[in-house]
């Protein structure tokens, strides 16, 4: 995907309601949207774009479970196998005393794991320079982008008329 420059035709909208209507219209017209960029999460957009629910929370659960096992089994190993010590006359394997650390490590693993996964799958990291279509997308513009690499003249005209019909305030092209 990265090896080829993309020719992008994009339209900017001023309001999220206009954007939602436009995406609906694009679906009806069978136009293939490359991506939608917004300054904040717009609810109702995901089903229109056919985005599946994120599975990040499942990953989080798995990381958490790994954390639980790591902490609990490690403390068990230390206090029953590696170096058993009696503390206050309690049994070596004093499970209630393991609860706080097990809990903390679970939360730690789940959170760190999820955050690392999030940035990795989104391709975000310090120093990454992702091409932006317009500087105002992080401010107050809502953007629908189409890939027009292999699109013919008539396809581009069709997209342009789609933008003007749905009330885009600006339409531009950019190679990214």
């Amino acid at each position: 995907m990265k090896d080829q420059n993309k020719e992008v035709l994009y339209g900017l909208y001023d309001d999220e309601q206009d954007l939602l209507k436009a995406v609906k219209q694009a679906n009806e017209d069978h136009l293939e949207i490359m991506d939608v960029f917004t300054p904040f999460p717009v609810h109702g957009l995901d089903p229109l774009l056919g985005l599946e629910e994120s599975r990040l929370h499942i990953a989080g659960f798995i990381y958490g479970a790994i954390g639980t096992l790591t902490a609990f089994l490690f403390m068990t190993w230390v206090f029953t196998r590696d170096w058993p010590i009696i503390f206050g006359g309690k049994p070596y394997w004093s499970v209630p005393a393991f609860v706080p650390i097990t809990f903390e490590v679970t939360v730690l693993f789940a959170s760190v794991g999820m955050v690392v996964t999030f940035y990795t799958i989104c391709g975000l990291a310090p120093g990454v320079v992702n091409p932006t279509l317009d500087d105002r997308i992080t401010d107050d513009k809502f953007c629908i982008a189409f890939n027009t690499n292999d699109a013919g003249e008539d396809k581009v005209d069709k997209l342009k008329s789609f933008f003007s019909a749905t009330g885009a305030s600006e339409v531009n092209t950019k190679t990214i």
């Binding site: 999460p41 503390f87 959170s111 401010d139």
Partner: protein, 468 residues
Amino acid sequence: MSAVVSPIRVPLIEGGKSYHQITEDICSPTEKTPSTAWIIAFIIAVAGLSFYVFCVAWTIWIGIGSWDLNRTVGWGWDITNFVWWVGIGHAGTLISAILLLFRQKWRTGVNRAAEAMTIFAVICAGQFPLIHMGRLWLGFFIFPYPNTRGPLWVNFNSPLLWDVFAISTYFTVSLLFWYTGLVPDFATVRDRAKGLRKKIYNVLSFGWTGSAKHWQRWESLSLVLAGLATPLVLSVHTIVSFDFATSVIPGWHTTIFPPYFVAGAIFSGFAMVQTLMVITRKVLNLQEYITIGHIESMNKVILLTGSIVGVAYLTELFIAWYSGYVYEQFAFYNRVMGPYWWSYLGMMTCNVLSPQLFWSKKIRQSLFWTFFMSIFVNIGMWFERFVIIATTLARDYLPSSWSYYNPTWVEIGLFVGTLGLFFTLFLIFSRVAPVVAIAEIKHILKSAGDQYTGPNAQKHADKAEKAH
């Protein structure tokens, strides 16, 4: 987040903002040269921080003997400060996590600054156990790493070690939560900037684009992190209270400690948020985002948690009497009437009596009272920890070893110095990052702002017009 919001509610964002105006209002403080007030505040804060560094160096050079702790009172200002700072560090996560789960939209105005405050407060808190070790360079002994002494592991049954895990997990998770929220806002700042500034903010924003899929994952991540941070924030002060509650010292060995500590932590945390917000909203001109409504909501939380703390104090006294256990009875008699009676009085006045003023709506909505009370509450909560720690230790089982403890200038310097550290960090934060979560504010503008467009919007507008 599509909860039904009553159109009759007071809007959370005032001033008829457009999306662009929001960006402008919140980003501009990071783009202007600092004001004189900021520079003066920064110089004072850095001076405090420098004195802190000096006192730490003094402590390490001389040893913790320079604190005048003694055989009887082994924990003085250091652990008092530690618990005080950790407590303050609870409000941020409470606002950003618990209020997110409860769908309290007013949190968006204050969550960014409150989370920043949390992180800085935890940094300050973490200093004290480390310095208290005396041999700071052996601080890594607290972590269970394979060592050449056996390996001899740390004691996983010790509440002090639970504390290590709790505080470091809490710090890490708060930092990740806060930073992930900041990434889209750093992108907003980046896209307004030019030259070197743009490059710096591009690094900070991780190359954020605002793609729909990214937003979806971002929201999913925020929600799960909030779900994880909620029990975490409750666990942290619970575990701090275990430091005391699992010991066999009368006055400490009580089951009421965990909920009582957590309520106190939220109480003092909100007070610190108020102290900072009342000033920040004015200096950075954010009155339309952090409205009187926000201030009032937080004052209600202060009233509630202050009352919980009050009930806990009275319960302790009652149970001490009712238990018929002389040592417990003496411990509490000593707290109220003993040589440290003044700190008990300060605690009771600041924490239990003074928040009751917030039953009055007028006082809840007054900025002057809010600021004044927030300082009062923080003093009271400091006294609470001092009462619990020093007062209890000074009169132990053996009357022959009773003593009295006064702090030295080094200990006072360390406390004042961490205030310097805290305000230095907060002042830097207010200059480089948007202090209000821009994307989240825009997100609620039309569902909870003054441009409400949801169900019954027209009806509401008509009603408002008729009223005028």
